[in-house]
Amino acid sequence: MDDESKIDAAALVRFRPTSAENGKVRATRFLGLCKSCGECIVKCPVQAISWDPKELGQLSEPAIVIDIEKCIGCEICEQICPDHAIEITRKPAVKKAN
């Protein structure tokens, strides 16, 4: 895991991670980082992302939520997010490579 950033406990509290997964993909949102800009929503090629009806992001506006069943793991949302608020992990391939 040496190619990944370490997150300490304090940061985890701040970041408020929450994950969901399907067979191939694990999607983690960091609610405490999401600034509710909506860029991921626009860029997701399969419209898997929408506003979370309950959870608020960093600025007390609605966070996003990923419909994990629709998600194809393309990572575009992770890439576009200006706030590092999404992490997409393609499960078997990526994990085993290391």
């Binding site: 895991m1 190619d3 990944e4 950033s5 370490k6 997150i7 300490d8 406990a9 304090a10 940061a11 985890l12 509290v13 701040r14 970041f15 991670p17 929450t18 994950s19 969901a20 983690t28 960091f30 405490g32 980082l33 600034k35 509710s36 800009c37 909506g38 860029e39 929503i41 626009v42 860029k43 960093q58 600025l59 992770e78 890439q79 576009i80 997010c81 200006p82 706030d83 590092h84 608020a85 999404i86 992490e87 992990t89």
Partner: protein, 246 residues
Amino acid sequence: MPDAIANPQAATHAFPKCVRIESKPHLYCPGCGHPEVLKALGFAIDELGIQQRVAFGIDIGCSLLAWDYFNLDTVETHHGRTIPTMAGVKRSNTDAVAIAYVGDGGAYAIGAGGLLNAAVRDEKILVIVVNNALYAMTGGQESPTTPPGMKVATAPKGADQYYIRAPEVIRSVNPSAFVARGITTVQPALRQLMKAALQHQMDGKGFAFIEVLSQCPLNWGTMGEPEKTFNFLEHGLAEVFPVKRY
């Protein structure tokens, strides 16, 4: 989900390793393009393993909000003066990987003479210009890249006709420089550009220049409307400023 929380040293690839976790959430507005540029740069630095060699110079402008984005040796300079500062760093410490991170105002208005002459002198530094087509930090004034007709604080009826296409200009004074234009919304390509440009410097090849088209929802008046933001970025701007390697 809670596995991450359970592990006090959890890991994530949402961040480049050279990013400073303690300072997140960072200081940029929602939807700002700056951190997308920084992210691409961070991954390139990671891939090249040069975190300890980088001298990261940041201009006054929203660039300065990057002051605690990374764990990198970082220096805020004056508005428009980051390019000469980094040239001075590199000339004196040839091991350094010197990066000047500047806005379009800092690079093409007040810093235009410095940029052009750094290119002519073939300074062995990487200049990254975040082109959001206006002066963001000071409240949305016209910059030399504001496209014709765009309404900004100092051109309320719309900006005038001409603008600077900097890669074209740089190329005309420096045939061997690394010159490219990227865009925030195509991250894999942007990361590749960053990496190649840094490699250019590390190989001792001279000047490297990347302009990145970047969104400023706050001053574009598109905050909360990402479709509009991207529409202006990917059409309004990218059609005027071609995204490519030169």
